[in-house]
Symmetry: D2
Subunit: 304 residues, 4 copies
């Protein structure tokens, strides 16, 4: 398909809509981003790439990184992971403590904040140097050894992280945290600070469209069955309280971040990453969601 | 594929597992069903059919019918439907009033009880003779003019329906019910009383695997886009508080009922219906869930 | 004390404050009341009476009647009553279903709507002609045989009673309702429709200030111990989500209604009833609350 | 009255009941207490004292200290205190985060953990050396300069304090904590570690029975109005989720702690402290509650 032409057309359509989104403002690094930047990149499993706009500009991928830390833990553990976190859609706003209290410290799924913190706790238990090893893993997936944490973002996340601290302490009170609070949170805040471009994101997630194998390096990251399950998990849990909307309108598994990025996977076919900083009321990229809805409508390529 | 052989093999594997399920007991008609019955039927969009076990025995499809009433309303209304019900996974047990109260009388999605009651209210507003027209619609989809409501089941549902009455009154108090309570509930209880066999169920849902068109009659039921969206909705909301599990383990959109039936759709390929009365703790068929998990694992046919 | 002079002074002070209350509008009979009416009446256990303003005008006592139905049931039952309702403050807004669901159909206390409905269910089980016998009981307490239900108010309550129906059906689903829904609700709606003046209210509640005995007739209504307990219950549960405020600022047990009435009891000394229709955001009489706060401050007569 | 005889009789009655309570076990210092110890002490405002059993043995007063820190803050602040904490009964178990989240970080009242932490935050803002000044205040009230914090208890509280940390971080995320987390928590954990005997407790609380003045030193602690209000607050909020029960059965304002102590106030008359380590399911002294119920029944001395 002429993806680049399609990208351009949808982009121009979106320009006509009255933009209602707002960039995240809880940390200075996100608040100061130019809201008009817009990028999209699609990579096929065969290796073809299609870019539009600011597709090579790095941005804060934020919660999108939760898929990567989950994959790293999931590749190392068997079913034990599901004794520590559930795998159901959240049903309440993404940072709610209510659910965590009712469910005795077990998060609803590994892609909400509480669940991602539990995954970090697991990685701290499993890895000798968690921050370095997670970074090395991401670099290998992306094929780019310059991917980095942004220490200022990590520091800002920590400074405004009271709610995340409330969650880890609550989980600890139920016995669902094994390691030192600060060690776990340090990994978590660094994870959220990873920076990538749309092109790098699409590349990094390509193994999920390719049965668990990185196409260019032939490295197996997950078994075919676990790859499918990771995609399934993104489908039901990848968009906070808007997973149903995204599944309904876009019809692909994916994950969003408050930096305005979204990555989606079409199993067997391609990955696509889109970036537009202003967010809708649910914390997902306002134009990113619309763009992907239009894209799967025009191309008739959803999994359903 | 040799589906029938696969069915048989999985069935025998399941015989070895210690069955933990229990048949629904809240109404006599469900409590008295022989728990050892087991049927499965797969129909391809090309018209091939594969059966195993009690695939021709009719049973109470219960909540599976909520997809059919939704499709009927969705085919008649535009976006107004989404002013009356949300489309997000429930996040709390399937008959909870908590969510309904927090969300001011708007159900989480049309497949939980509260949402299905709102859909019934919409159909009562739209149709001259709702019970007859819904039945005629189902008969047309199934190609079987003898499909019927079971009046004793409908009556039992009403007799034990206090919680459903609580929900409709709560929604009414928020202004989200337009018609007479008893008229709406009468349609709802009859809907739940529909009886079909696995073969009839698989046939009835085939339009959802075929872009919205009934293959043998060429009748268009939904547009391609709405067909995809209905499948997407089943994926995130079709299994009460276990939608994540089903998506994760089975990887197909589907819908379950407390009669022990499950129907699943592989878009572009087939529909499959399985029936085994004993339920797991979440109210889904215990062996039906395991069967479909094994089936998509063995055949490597999930959408992810 | 010169109560009448104190009443007048406080009333004039209150005139100076900017009134922020609003009359209840969910039924026409309450919405059309003249909001400027104001009455207060104090009766001592020795029989002295002190009036101010519209103290002889009858108004809809609404939830205040819940104390009277409770007393009638409490006088007939032993501890069984506490298997049907708890006796703790509600902690959530007065008509919430959330608590009722978490506590499996057991209301927090007999003075919230759900609890009062359970008390009506108990009275329907206990009495041959519940509506007539409750009325006769109230007439005996008040010494006024013309006290009556207002049938138009009862009918309006029923017409706007969806939320109360939601609650009774929810409790029924948990097995906490024994009788026909409509019979119980008919008693409940009539109970809410009772009309009394401040003078009649103060007189009716006098037995609670007099160890359980009606002073002028010497009829024992409750044992001394149960009288104390009923007062204690009003203290912690008499003001919806504002029981703490009332206890803190007024320091007397009491009960309010959305008709704008409040009755308070000083054990061993007096009862006082005040009426001003506009309500604060919690559903209690705006000026009635302020009046009683001033009254116990000026007279230094609280129980604490 | 012959209080000591009454104490002895009730104590012997209680010996006959099958004791169902269990000592608190979350910290070693409480778990290792001899559960058979039992003490009671009553002090009249005129200075008469009546003891029974282990009335001179010091124990961990735990949450009872929350009244003392509240009084210290309340004596220094005007209504600002009510912008930081509400004053309504909790309605949910005493350490629930659910309410705190719904109410945007404002605790229900100053006697639940979250509210007491806010009071500590206020004291840290107000006092130069909070821990020392609070201790000096308690020593002045008790007339005993040897009252002390137990540093091992304070340390154990901190070690098992994850849930309290979750609460302070949650409140901080809503902007309701001004000072350093560790400074506030250090004061809080020390407060909980105060040790007193029944006699010392009864003496310490005597100003609340005496219009705000310490009888033997004539020091005014609170104005008469604030004294009444503090008593009212204990009445509605002093017993976690059992305030209604205590008010109903005992009929005096009071406060309990998980060390098994309870202190109650009869305004104008006396204070009484009872101690028995095993707790009921709500976290209040099992025999202490029963003792006080019997005591006010036998003496007919409740405020209602």
């Amino acid at each position: 398909m002429h993806y680049e032409k399609i990208f351009e057309e949808i982009f121009h359509e979106l320009q006509l809509t009255e933009d209602k989104g707002q960039v995240a403002e809880y940390i200075p690094e996100l608040a100061s981003v130019d809201p008009n930047q817009f990028g999209v990149h699609l990579t096929t499993v065969e290796g073809a790439g299609f870019s539009f706009g600011d597709a090579q500009t790095q941005f804060s991928i934020q919660s999108i990184a939760k898929v990567l830390s989950f994959v790293m833990a999931y590749g190392r553990l068997k079913s034990e992971i599901w004794e520590r976190t559930n795998l159901e859609p959240a049903g309440t706003p993404f940072n709610s403590l209510l659910q965590l209290e009712i469910d005795m410290g077990i998060p609803r799924n590994p892609f909400i904040n509480a669940g991602a913190i539990v995954i970090c706790d697991i990685l701290v238990s499993q890895l000798a140097d968690p921050k370095e090893e997670v970074l090395a893993f991401v670099r290998r997936l992306s094929g780019n050894s310059s991917i980095h944490y942004n220490p200022r973002v990590a520091r800002s996340e920590k400074d405004s992280g009271s709610r995340n601290y409330a969650m880890i302490y609550l989980m600890k009170s139920f016995g669902n945290i094994d390691n030192e609070i600060e060690t776990v949170m340090d990994l978590y805040f660094h994870l959220c600070s990873l920076e990538m471009s749309c092109e790098e994101l699409a590349t990094t997630f390509l193994f999920l469209a390719n049965n668990g194998v990185v196409p260019w390096s032939d490295e197996r990251i997950l078994s075919p069955s676990r790859t499918k399950r990771t995609n399934a998990l993104m489908q039901t849990c990848g968009f906070y309280d808007e997973a149903g909307q995204f599944t309904f309108k876009v019809g692909l598994p994916g994950k969003s971040g408050v930096g305005g990025g979204i990555v989606a996977v079409h199993p067997g076919k391609y990955t696509i990453a889109v970036w537009s900083p202003p967010l809708n009321s649910k914390g997902n990229s306002y134009r990113g969601m619309l763009f992907l809805e239009q894209f799967t409508t025009v191309t008739r390529l959803s999994i359903f």
